[in-house]
Symmetry: C2
Subunit: 122 residues, 2 copies
């Protein structure tokens, strides 16, 4: 098995801004057919993450504001990071995606357990 790195399997991110409302983000998740939306500022810098799990939490807790469901402390990956390191991070935090950032926290892409699992189907 050749070593695989994040840059080989990362995909483009679907993003939103912290000022958008929950319903708008929910529509984007459905239109783009993804489960993870990365929250960025106007310079493309990582500010948080919102997933379909968080939208579900908003339904369960009757929460309206996006800023109350966004996760701010985001676990990330770097492009040169090996896949086995990502898998350990995903397992440790019980999450299924890692936004990929550069040294200034600028968003470069996202790596998901869906993409990682596909390495086993080849």
């Amino acid at each position: 098995k050749e070593a695989v790195f994040v840059q080989n399997i990362m995909i483009p991110t679907v993003t939103c801004n912290i000022d958008e409302d929950t319903e708008t983000v929910a529509r984007r998740i459905i239109e783009k057919n993804v489960n993870h939306v990365v929250v960025v500022d106007d310079g493309g810098i990582l500010k948080g993450i919102v997933t379909s799990f968080d939208i579900t939490k908003a339904v369960a807790k009757k929460e309206e504001k996006l800023s109350n469901v966004v996760t701010r402390q985001v676990v990330t990956a770097s492009p040169e990071e090996p896949i086995d390191s990502c898998v350990r991070k995903l397992k440790k935090h019980d999450i299924s995606a890692l936004p990929v950032v550069d040294s200034e926290k600028k968003i470069l892409g996202i790596v998901t357990s869906e993409q990682i699992s596909r390495l086993l189907g080849e």
Copy 2:
């Protein structure tokens, strides 16, 4: 690499009944910390699947009834199925979990891309 089969990595399912409402299922997703809920009848037979993606769809489309967001045509796996076959099914249908059933469609567990990706971290 030893061959790995569904029965080696499948986990217990969180289930619901088609008569429950969307908010109750959303609360169960949050309480159990999962993204997939399997819809079963009183005999434990597979009837559909509801995910946090579907609850997000209910928010995006202002849909109240669970029966209008449940996916009825479910792609499944069997306990003796090899993992690479599951990965191809997940990719083909753009989904991230396969309920595991016996020949009578009785629910035995679920296999997710999260569990499959963990095989690469060992």
